[in-house]
């Protein structure tokens, strides 16, 4: 049985842990709001970009001269997985759920005889994947020390990915990130960015494709629009990820705070019992001593 002093120390230490987790939860809640607003503010851009690209791509897809970013390289032998995780831990299953999804994809691709290359964004994912797949790594983008993700960060990642694509290093690129649904629910998602996936619109738009005039010409516009679309997708993934990270951290810290509270209650009961037992023991000693006289 631990001594009274041990118990007291233990209670104190759990109490300070609770203070820390409580503070982290509140910080995460404040950051979450900002991250969520940023993600929502960026949505119109991504949607407009998707719509314009969709229109263009449907028209250009079948032509011989379609850019490789749209049509692909004609092979799917080499895959680049862009795994986006957080720079910091203590956010529940946030990082490991992305890593788990990426790992199962790596295994599937390997089993199918494909070549896999990994580009990580965020320290945590690199640490977790490095153990098993260190030899597949081609690069890492460091975002540590960054308060809010900006469009420039997405541009940096996009440039890295596009340069490798132009150099013929891979055929297909897929992003791995957590899609933010709510504070308690983040969905690990894989999204192919190269070659561009054009969502088939249903209804009127699909029946009557619009014929646009292009200024300057179609090819030039596509050549500029496609890299921007890649950047836009990376940017929205970064923002979704940032919001998810804060959401995951908030709920993880919430339950940590609750657990600490429960532990304090249990320890306090134990402490009081042992204190009472000690008093009873002393009383018995005194009484039996007095009786023996």
């Amino acid at each position: 049985m631990p001594s009274l002093k041990d118990l007291k120390n233990r209670i104190e230490s759990v109490k300070s842990t609770r203070k820390i987790t409580k503070a982290m939860q509140m910080v995460a809640a404040a950051k979450l709001r900002r991250a969520q607003e940023a993600a929502e503010a960026a949505r119109p851009y991504a949607e407009s970009m998707g719509a314009v690209l969709g229109n263009l791509a449907r028209a250009a897809r079948d032509s011989e001269s379609a850019p490789r970013l749209l049509k692909g390289t004609g092979s799917d032998q080499t895959h680049l997985l862009v795994v986006m995780t957080a720079e910091r831990g203590l956010c529940g299953g946030f990082n490991s759920s992305i890593v788990r999804l990426a790992k199962s994809r790596i295994e599937d691709l390997k089993a199918a005889g494909k070549t896999v290359k990994i580009l990580t964004v965020g320290r945590k994912g690199r640490e977790q994947l490095k153990r098993e797949y260190g030899d597949l790594f081609v690069g890492h983008v460091d975002l540590s020390g960054l308060k809010n993700v900006g469009y420039d960060n997405a541009e940096t990642i996009a440039r890295e990915v596009l340069e490798r694509f132009d150099a013929g290093e891979f055929d297909v690129a897929t992003l791995f990130f957590n899609r933010f649904r709510s504070v308690i629910s983040q969905i690990p998602t894989a999204r192919q960015i190269i070659p561009a996936v054009v969502e088939e619109e249903e209804g009127a738009a699909a029946e009557a494709p619009r014929f646009y005039e292009y200024e300057p010409d179609e090819e030039e516009i596509l050549a500029r629009l496609l890299p921007q679309a890649v950047t836009s997708q990376i940017f929205s993934a970064l923002l979704e990820n940032a919001a998810s990270e804060q959401g995951a951290r908030m709920s993880a810290m919430d339950s940590a705070t609750r657990n600490a509270g429960e532990m304090i209650d249990k320890l306090t009961i134990l402490y009081n019992r042992s204190r009472q037992a000690a008093i009873t023991k002393e009383l018995i000693e005194i009484i039996s001593g007095a009786e023996a006289l």
Partner: protein, 131 residues
């Protein structure tokens, strides 16, 4: 003919404007033009310049640096790489952008040199217009 159509201006980080406009003046890559309602479908890339949208309560101006404009009979959507409301941006910011573009033009590979130089010239032109 309808007398107004939808005008949207979006930048990567936020939506800057969304209102019905009577006419929108656009700095297209091959020259400025004005889009009116029922314009034929057109996709144009943009050069750095000023977008002016004439709405119900006056004209609003925006500075855009590169991007695209999608014009349909029903509306204009401008997808800008960078955009600022005219009143929020001063000469200093544009000078900073100009400097950034100049540095890029000096360091970029020769095959992209023309494009980068044109960007510098366009931003310099924009700077003159800002006075």
């Amino acid at each position: 003919m309808a007398d107004s159509f939808a005008f949207d201006l979006v930048a990567p980080e936020r939506r800057l404007a969304s209102f019905p406009a009577k006419a929108v003046q656009i700095p297209g890559a091959e020259g400025d033009f004005t889009a009116l309602p029922d314009h034929m479908p057109l996709i144009s890339s943009l050069r750095p310049g000023i977008v002016e949208a004439e709405g119900a309560d006056g004209t609003r101006a925006f500075v855009v640096i590169q991007g695209f404009a999608e014009i349909t009979p029903e509306g204009v959507t401008i997808i800008a790489e960078r955009a600022f409301p005219r009143e929020e941006i001063g000469r200093a910011e544009i000078e900073a952008l100009l400097k950034e573009a100049q540095e890029k033009a000096e360091t970029c590979p020769p095959e992209e040199k023309d494009v980068a130089d044109k960007l510098v010239a366009d931003i310099a032109h924009l700077l003159e217009m800002m006075v």
